[in-house]
C-alpha cells in the first residue's frame, strides 16, 4: 500500500515537471508568435538636401535614420520623464530649454530662464549660452561651442559626472550630447539607470522601441540614438533668402545692400566665418577668437580641446540662420539684442595675442559701418528667418495636452 502510494507520488511529481515544461514551451512559443505578429520593419528615412547645402551628412554608421526612430526620438525629446523622474517639479526634457518657437533655443523672453540663460534641475546655470538646434546634420566639425564632441574624440565616459568609460558613452556625436544631458548638473542632474528604468516602465514606449530598434528593451544607447535621429531632421532651409537663392523672390533694396555688406571684405566682412550665398549654412562651423575680451578665464574654450594657444578665447561661429529668434548671443550670452552684437563688431572689437586673423579690422576696433549700413545689414539678417522651421508640425510636441509633455 505504502509502495503504491510512493509510486503514485513519484508519478505525480514527474507529471508536475512535464506539465511545467509544456507550460514553459507554450509560453515561449506564444512569445515567438507575438513577435511574428509584430515584425521589425523600420522605414528608412532619407534627408532631402536643399540647394547648395552640403551633401556630406554627419550620420554615424551605427545609427541609420528611420521614420520609427525619428518618431520615438521626437517623443523622448519632448517627454519630461527624460529626467528619470515623474514629479511635476522634476520633469525635464530637451524641449524644456530647446523651444521650437525660438529655433530650439530657450529664448530671451522665456519667463523661466532669465535673460535666456537656462539652468538645470539642480538650479545650476549652464556653463555656456545654449546653441540652437539648426542644421546640425550638416556639421562635421564637432558639436558644442568648443567642438569637444567630435568624431576624432576617443575618450569614453565623463568621470566628473560619474559616467564610466564604456563604448555607449563615447563623446563623438549628437548621441553623446543626449546622455550627457541626463547626468549634467546644469541639465537633468539625473542618473542614466533611472532614466532608462523610467522610460521602460511607461507603457507606450516599449512598442515604440521595438518599432525603432527591433527590441522593446529600453537602453541609453537607443534613447540617445533616437533623439539624435530626431535632431538631425531639424533642417532650416525655407527663409526669404532661400527663396531668393531659388529665384522665387527678390530681395528688397535694404536687404540687398545688407547682403553686399555681409559678403564684402571691405564692408562688414561677415562671410569669411559665416558663409556666403554658396555656403548657405551661414557658418563654417569653425572656431574663432572674435575679439570680445583681452583676458580669458573660461576653461571650456577651443583651447581646452586643441591645446593650441592660438585657440585661447576661440569659440564656434554659430549659424546666423534664424538669428532674430536666437538671442542672447555669443558663447556667454553677453549680448541680449542683435543691435548689441552689431555694435560690438562695429566698434568694440579688442586685440589679444590669440585674436583670429579673420578679425582684420581689430586695430580700428571694428568695421565702422554707418547707422544706415547697420540698418541694411539687419535687414539682410532678417531674411534668414525661417517661419516654417519654427512652426513645422513634424518638429513639434507630439502630445501637447499631456502634462508630462507640457512641463515648460
Amino acid at each position: 500500500m505504502f509502495k503504491k502510494q510512493l509510486e503514485y507520488q513519484q508519478n505525480f511529481k514527474f507529471f508536475k515537471i512535464e506539465f511545467l515544461i509544456i507550460l514553459f514551451l507554450f509560453i515561449f512559443c506564444r512569445r515567438d508568435k507575438t513577435n511574428e505578429v509584430q515584425p521589425y520593419h523600420p522605414t528608412s528615412y532619407q534627408i532631402k538636401i536643399p540647394l547648395f547645402f552640403p551633401t556630406k551628412l554627419n550620420i554615424p554608421d551605427d545609427n541609420p535614420m528611420t521614420v520609427e526612430g525619428i518618431e520615438l526620438g521626437r517623443y523622448l525629446f519632448y517627454d519630461g520623464r527624460f529626467s528619470g523622474r515623474t514629479d511635476p517639479d522634476s520633469l525635464m526634457s530637451c524641449s524644456t530649454c530647446h523651444l521650437q518657437a525660438n529655433a530650439f533655443k530657450c529664448g530671451i523672453n522665456n519667463p523661466k530662464f532669465i535673460d535666456g540663460r537656462p539652468y538645470g534641475l539642480s538650479g545650476k546655470v549652464t556653463p555656456h549660452n545654449m546653441m540652437p538646434l539648426i542644421n546640425l546634420v550638416f556639421n562635421n566639425e564637432g558639436y558644442l561651442w568648443n567642438g569637444m564632441i567630435n568624431n576624432n574624440n576617443t575618450n569614453l565616459g565623463l568621470a566628473v559626472y560619474g559616467v564610466p568609460p564604456k563604448p555607449e558613452y563615447n563623446l563623438k556625436n549628437i548621441e553623446s550630447v543626449v546622455w550627457m544631458a541626463i547626468v549634467a548638473p546644469h541639465e537633468a542632474n539625473g542618473s542614466i539607470e533611472r532614466t532608462v528604468k523610467t522610460i521602460q516602465n511607461i507603457p507606450m514606449y516599449p512598442p515604440m522601441f521595438f518599432k525603432a530598434f527591433g527590441s522593446d528593451t529600453v537602453t541609453i544607447d537607443r534613447i540617445s540614438k533616437s533623439i539624435a535621429q530626431f535632431i538631425r531632421t531639424l533642417i532650416s532651409c525655407d527663409s526669404k533668402f532661400d527663396k531668393y537663392l531659388n529665384g522665387e523672390v527678390d530681395l528688397a533694396d535694404a536687404e540687398r545692400r545688407g547682403f553686399e555688406l555681409f559678403t564684402t571684405n571691405n564692408g562688414a566682412d561677415c562671410f569669411h566665418c559665416h558663409g556666403t550665398d554658396a555656403q548657405p549654412l551661414f557658418t563654417t562651423n569653425l572656431f574663432y577668437n572674435n575679439g570680445k575680451d583681452t583676458v580669458f578665464t573660461d576653461l571650456k574654450d577651443r583651447f581646452s580641446v586643441t591645446k593650441n594657444p592660438q585657440d585661447i578665447g576661440a569659440y564656434r561661429a554659430p549659424t546666423l540662420r534664424n538669428i532674430l529668434y536666437t538671442a542672447p548671443y555669443m558663447h556667454d550670452g553677453r549680448f541680449k539684442t542683435l543691435d548689441e552684437v552689431l555694435n560690438f563688431y562695429n566698434q568694440k572689437v579688442v586685440w589679444s595675442p590669440s585674436i583670429s586673423p579673420m578679425m582684420q579690422r581689430v586695430k580700428d576696433g571694428g568695421v565702422h559701418l554707418t547707422p544706415s549700413q547697420i540698418s541694411d545689414l539687419k535687414a539682410f539678417l532678417s531674411t534668414l528667418s525661417d517661419e516654417k522651421f519654427i512652426t513645422n508640425p513634424s518638429f513639434s510636441n507630439p502630445r501637447p495636452s499631456d502634462p508630462y509633455f507640457s512641463h515648460n
Binding site: P54, E141, T264, T276, D277, A278, P357, Q360
Partner: protein, 275 residues
C-alpha cells in the same frame, strides 16, 4: 527515377554555376589588364619658410620688406596638373578630380593620389594652374567643407579663393595686426567704387627640375613645396603696411595688391624630391 532526375538537375546547376564563374572571372581579367604599360603618381605637399618647415603661429619670420610675421593658416587650390612628356605630348591629371585642395591643418589634403594612369616613359616637367581657371571657377562647384569654405562672394567675382593665407605682422606701430593674404578673382572699380569688371588672377606654374620617369606598375612620389617667403619677394617687395589702409583691409578687394602677389607667385613652388 526521382533521385536520377534530381541528380541530373544538380549536375546542370553545378555546370552552369562553374560556367558563369569561369566566364565572369575571364571578363574581369580582361578589364583589369592595361592596354599599355603604366604607373601612378602620388603628390606630397609641404610649406616652408626660407627652406625650413614652418612653425605656425610664431613670430619668427621676416619678409623681404622687413615685416616681422607669423603664419596661422595656409589653404589653397591647384588644378589642371599637367605632365609634359619628353619629345612632346602631355597628360592632364583630371580623370577623377581636376583640382586638389591643400590645407595645412588637414593632414589628408597633404597627400594627393590622382586616379589617372600614367603611361611609362620619361617626362620633362610638371606644370599646374595655381587656383582655379575661369572655366572651372564657378560658384556652387563645391558644396562640402573644407572646399566650400573657400567660397569667394559672387558679387566680388564668384567661385572660390585660390588661396587663403592668414597671418599677423608687426606693423609700423609695432601692433601685431591680422592680414588676410587672400587671392582670387579681382575686381575693377569705377570712380564711384562700383564694380565694372573682373580680373582672372589664376596663373600657370611650371615646376623647375621636375623631370621624372614612370616605370611600369610603379608609383612615383613627388613632393611639391610652397616657399612662402617667395610670395613677398620677387618681382614686388610686398610690404604689408602698404596694403593696410582705412576701410580696405588685406588685398581681396584691391586688384593692385592681388596682381602684385600673383606676379610673385611664379617661383613660389619647387620640387622637394622625386622618388
Amino acid at each position: 527515377m526521382i533521385f536520377m532526375k534530381c541528380n541530373l538537375s544538380l549536375n546542370i546547376f553545378i555546370y552552369m554555376a562553374f560556367s558563369i564563374l569561369f566566364f565572369s572571372s575571364c571578363e574581369k581579367e580582361k578589364i583589369s589588364q592595361p592596354n599599355t604599360e603604366a604607373g601612378k603618381i602620388v603628390f606630397k605637399f609641404n610649406q616652408t619658410y626660407n627652406g625650413q618647415p614652418i612653425i605656425y603661429d610664431s613670430l619668427l619670420y621676416v619678409n623681404a620688406a622687413g615685416n616681422k610675421l607669423m603664419i596661422d593658416q595656409i589653404q589653397y587650390f591647384i588644378s589642371d596638373v599637367t605632365l609634359h612628356k619628353s619629345g612632346g605630348g602631355l597628360k592632364i591629371l583630371n580623370s577623377k578630380e581636376f583640382c586638389h585642395y591643400i590645407d595645412k591643418d588637414i593632414p589628408s589634403t597633404l597627400t594627393w593620389s590622382p586616379a589617372d594612369v600614367i603611361a611609362t616613359g620619361a617626362y620633362d616637367s610638371i606644370s599646374f594652374t595655381f587656383g582655379l581657371s575661369k572655366i572651372e571657377n564657378k560658384t556652387g562647384l563645391f558644396v562640402n567643407p573644407p572646399e566650400n569654405n573657400m567660397s569667394w562672394p559672387e558679387m566680388l567675382g564668384g567661385g572660390y579663393h585660390y588661396m587663403k593665407m592668414n597671418l599677423k605682422f608687426q606693423d609700423s606701430t609695432n601692433y601685431l595686426s591680422p592680414f588676410n593674404f587672400h587671392l582670387g578673382i579681382g575686381q575693377i572699380y569705377n570712380s564711384k567704387d562700383s564694380i565694372i569688371g573682373f580680373v582672372q588672377n589664376y596663373f600657370n606654374v611650371t615646376l623647375p627640375n621636375s623631370s621624372f620617369v614612370i616605370e611600369n606598375g610603379k608609383t612615383k612620389e613627388i613632393q611639391i613645396i610652397m616657399n612662402v617667403e617667395s610670395w613677398f619677394k620677387t618681382p614686388h617687395i610686398f610690404d604689408f603696411n602698404q596694403w593696410e589702409m582705412p576701410g580696405m583691409m588685406g588685398i581681396m578687394q584691391n586688384e593692385t595688391g592681388m596682381k602684385a602677389a600673383c606676379d610673385n607667385g611664379f617661383d613660389v613652388f619647387t620640387i622637394g624630391y622625386i622618388k
